[in-house]
Every structure is written in structure tokens, then in C-alpha cells.
Symmetry: C2
Subunit: 327 residues, 2 copies
């Protein structure tokens, strides 16, 4: 495991759910790994502790690396891991610039190894249940998808204040909101128009307090993702995650952990069952048994390109086409 700046705890969650891995080594890669080492001890792992993450990769040659270092190093850490013959489970976005992403995609293609980002919210019970309903045809042909991530801002660490170390709100918060579009539509993106706004950000430097991305997908679906840090601290939960998928046979919606479905039989609200998998153990199961996980390597690349192009669209105030970026 390299770093612990984001969702590294998905690894231990996956282990609790049966992921058959043992933790051979850790390296901070710029982060203080105390919390990771404590979690390792709880799970009776005794990882070697490397000062230098590159040395660790080359000496340990792990089957799988969890990358959760500084955001701006995701791509270089992931690429080096793939080059060393390791599969990669990486915090999203896996790159902070389109140049980094192009580099990483090249390395991934040549490596024959897997690259998967931590889109854990695909596995949230309500979003997973809605996904299975959509797959089963509950809404018919999808026409329109709308997603929302609204977070509390609070007081963020310094690295959130600089584009170079944070990446921006559309890539960071939007990774989930845009990933749901990929997830439910099963389509790649055709074009994006986005806006974001760093004014009134409560003294958070470059951090955009709100952003919005409008996509046309290659299968014709219209989709939009709204992200903001405007949720008041007094709100009952950290985030207000939503999806609304409207199709020719019905509308399904995730809101406050529940799934709302309107179809030919009327309206119902479902408390979703517990999820039967999680993002990390689903990945290790794919590696071991070949059962495809709910998210693929290609989607990891596509999602990253989508959020980075959306950020560029917002910076330039221009609509951008994905075709021009295709390889």
C-alpha cells in the first residue's frame, strides 16, 4: 500500500469481506502511514515499511498495489506499479492531467495488468440496487441521467487549496457523479460542457465550491452531474448523493439511501438490501476467479478522461469532444 490520503480503508473493508490478500509492505509516498499500520496490526499483518515507494515496488514486486498517495502522484505511482508487474487499485482520479492520463493509459495497455479506481459508490447499497434494476429493464431505454454530489466543506487540508495538488472539484467530487453516468448508461461520452466556480469558497484557494457537467453520451443519452461543497455543516449526513435515471418505461431515483421507482405499476420506495460485494473484494475476486467486477479498467480510463475533459471545458468555457481525445 502506498499512501493514505483518500479511501485506502476500502482495502481493509474488502479484507473483512473476504478478499484473499495479505499486506506485504507499505510506503508513505509522502503521507504519514500510522493509520494504515494500525489497521494492518488489527488484521495481523506485519508489512515491511519502506521509505521509498519505488524501492518497495522493485523489491517486493507485489501482485497488487493500493495507491492512495498525494493526488498529483497517482498516475506516476500507478504507472510504476504496472511496470513492475503489479495490478493497481488506485484512488480516483487516477491522473490529475490529461498528459498524465495518456502516459498511464499507454503503460497500462502494455502491462497486461489491471488498473482499477476506487469508485466505491457503485457498491453503495442503494446505487447497486438501482443498477441491478436498470440492468433488469426497470426503466426501459434510458433517455436522461442526472446525478448529484453535495458535500460539506468544513476546513480542508492545505493540498485542497491548490489545483496542482487537489486537481479540482469536478475531478475529485465529480468522479463519483460522473462515474454513475458511466455505470448506469453503459456508454462512453461524446461531448461535455462544464462550469465551475471558485468564488465564495470560504478561503480555500483554488478549490471550486460548485461545478456542473453536461454530457452527451455516444448512445444518445443526455446526462448531467452537479457537484458542490455547499451542504451546511449542520446537515444530517456528510453527503447528499443522488441519481435520477429516466427511461421509456420508468424513472428510478436514489436519494437519501433509498431507491424510488416509478414504472407502469405505480410508485414505490425501496430500502435496498445490503450490498453483496465491495469495490476492493470485487476487484480481487476478478483477479482470482475471472468474474468481472462491476467496474472495468476501460471505465477507469474513460471516467478519468471524462472528469479531466470536463474540468478543461469549465476552465475554457468551451464544449469539448471526446472523439478528438480518443487514441
Amino acid at each position: 500500500m502506498i499512501g493514505c490520503q483518500g479511501h485506502w480503508s476500502y482495502v481493509f473493508n474488502g479484507i473483512r469481506n473476504g478478499a484473499q490478500v495479505s499486506l506485504a509492505a507499505v510506503s508513505g509516498g509522502g503521507n504519514d502511514m500510522t493509520r494504515v499500520k494500525e489497521a494492518a496490526e488489527e488484521h495481523h499483518f506485519h508489512p515491511a515499511d519502506y521509505e521509498d515507494w519505488r524501492t518497495m515496488l522493485h523489491e517486493v514486486k507485489p501482485d497488487l498495489v493500493c495507491i492512495d498517495g498525494p493526488f498529483e502522484l497517482h498516475a506516476v505511482m500507478a504507472a510504476e506499479s504496472l511496470r513492475c508487474g503489479s495490478h493497481v487499485f488506485c484512488e480516483k482520479p487516477v491522473a490529475l492531467t490529461l498528459e498524465q492520463l495518456d502516459m498511464l493509459e499507454d503503460v497500462w495497455k502494455k502491462s497486461g495488468k489491471h488498473l482499477r479506481s476506487m469508485v466505491g459508490l457503485r457498491y453503495d447499497p442503494a446505487f447497486l440496487y438501482a443498477y441491478r434494476q436498470v440492468q433488469a429493464g426497470a426503466v426501459g431505454k434510458i433517455k436522461f441521467i442526472r446525478t448529484q454530489k453535495s458535500y460539506k466543506l468544513g476546513k480542508r487540508p492545505d493540498f485542497y487549496r491548490k489545483r496542482g495538488t487537489y486537481g479540482g472539484t469536478i475531478p475529485w467530487v465529480g468522479s463519483h457523479a460522473v462515474d454513475w453516468i458511466l455505470y448506469y448508461s453503459g456508454s462512453t461520452f461524446e461531448r461535455v460542457t462544464a462550469y465551475h466556480d471558485a468564488e465564495d469558497n470560504f478561503d480555500h484557494g483554488d478549490l471550486e465550491i460548485a461545478g456542473h457537467c453536461l454530457f452527451r453520451l455516444n448512445n444518445g443519452v443526455i446526462a448531467d452531474a452537479g457537484v458542490d461543497y455547499l451542504r451546511p455543516l449542520s446537515a444530517p449526513s456528510h453527503g447528499d448523493d443522488r441519481v435520477r435515471i429516466a427511461g421509456t418505461k420508468g424513472i428510478i431515483e436514489v436519494m437519501k439511501g433509498k431507491v424510488h421507482l416509478i414504472d407502469s405499476e405505480g410508485e414505490k420506495v425501496v430500502d435496498p438490501p445490503a450490498a453483496d460485494r465491495d469495490v476492493f473484494s470485487d476487484f480481487t475476486t476478478e483477479l482470482v476467479t475471472g468474474r468481472p467486477a462491476l467496474v472495468s479498467d476501460l471505465e477507469t480510463i474513460e471516467l478519468t478522461r471524462a472528469v479531466l475533459l470536463a474540468r478543461e471545458s469549465a476552465d475554457k468555457q468551451e464544449t469539448l469532444l471526446f472523439a478528438g481525445e480518443a487514441k
Copy 2:
């Protein structure tokens, strides 16, 4: 009153709420006026019935005309009424093309009379209550507005099937969704990017089954409006009208007739009080007493330009600037 293709009943609703008008004359302008004449009788009016609406305008010279004829005639009927010295209460959108709108705007400016469109949903109890909360500073400085109109399609009359007589889903359904953006933001529009889609429209010709408009406003607010006819017939209500307004101090939302507010004191859900005014009597009160109505003539023009430019954006798949259209 000319025509009865849309929301002409707002007039009688306003009269029940105390609007001090009497109905001097009606003309179908292409519509069968039976229902209007029945409503007139209930209210003890004995309007003259004119075959030709132009003759009616020139002979009767009413103080105020309600225009609700075929959509494609709104602009010409409104312009002729203004020229005859009448104020105009007109079904939205007040024009189906930008050329019609330019013509109507010119006539309106020269007339010294008022032109108001039927944006009755500003007066819906929940939307009105939310408006007053926003005006009172409940959400602080607005950063992001999201609106939704989702309707049942059912089987629509023939005029909905042709762009020339229907105008399109963004102008028709979107008039409300875009008007809420004007209403809550108090800002004009800077640019728009929109999509719409007439595939899978259940045999409704040109009618777009879904559309989406992303706006940047001149005050910096990011705003988007989603419209669709995908609400299943089995749904409990005809429409699913929503607004979400996120600002620096809180988030207010209208959904299913209730107002949800999260601010520094936590989350609350409010059953809004009954509205103290309606779109028609509010207009007649302005005409009589000078108390400004909740919607202005300038907003009527701005809204119409916004939905028509959004439709053009969707047709061309291009972002369009409002500045280029300014006069």
C-alpha cells in the same frame, strides 16, 4: 380573451381571487371557445363572441387581453393587442421563434403597455414560499440552481407533433423550469448549452421526449433545467416539479409540494402556506395599483429568449451567447 389552448383558466382563477375585470368579448382565434363561454356564464359575464380576433381587438379595444390561441400565433396576437392599446396576458412562450420575439419586443417597447406571460408556477405555494425564503437570505449568495419539470406524455393533440405548431419541449415545458432560474437568481442569462431528443417519443412526431439546458448567468450562477415527458402514467401526480437552490448559507429545495431547507440550524421540511396571490390577479393588481407583480415584462421577454436560444443550442449542438442577441 383570444383562444383557449393552454392556461386560459388562470383568468377565472384570478377573478375568483378578486381580480377586478369583466369579460367584454371572446374570439377563438382557431380554438373552440365553448369551455371559455361556459366559464364566463358561471361568472355572469356576457361576452360578445367574435369570429375574427383582429376585428374584436379593434372594435372592443379592451384594457387587457388574455392570449391563449395556437402557440404559433401568440406573438402576432400579442403584438396586435399591444398596438391596439391593450395590456397583454399571454400563454408562454410568447413567441415560437426568435424573429417573432424580436418583432414582439419592438412592438412592446413602443406600446407603453404591459406584456406578461403565464408563469403561474411562480405562484405555486411551495415555489412562492421558497422564493420568499431566498429573498430573505435563507441560502445566502446563490451559487447553483437546478430545476426539473417531468410530465406525463399520454396521447397529445396533433399540434404537439409539429415544431411549427408546438415549438418544442424546451420552450413549452422548459418555460417553467427556466423561469424558476430567472425567478430565484434575479439574473439575466449569459450563455446556454442544451440538448434535446425526439427519439422514442411514442409516436409524437417532432416532440422532444427530453431536453436539458445548462446556463451560465450574468451574475455567475451556474444553473440547469431538465425537462422530460417520461413520467409514467401510473405516477401519483401529472408533474414532478422541482427546484434546488444552493448558496453560501444553505440549500433550499422544492419537491412534491414541500420546501426543504438546510441552513446553519439544520434541516427542516415545510408545508408551505397557501399562496396569497395568483399570476393573473397579481398582474391586474399591478395594472391598477402599481404594486409590482412577481414577474415583470422584461422577465417575460428574457424567459422567451432563453428558451428559444436553448432550443437553438440543442438543434445546433452549440453553446450560444445571449450577448449577441441583446438589443
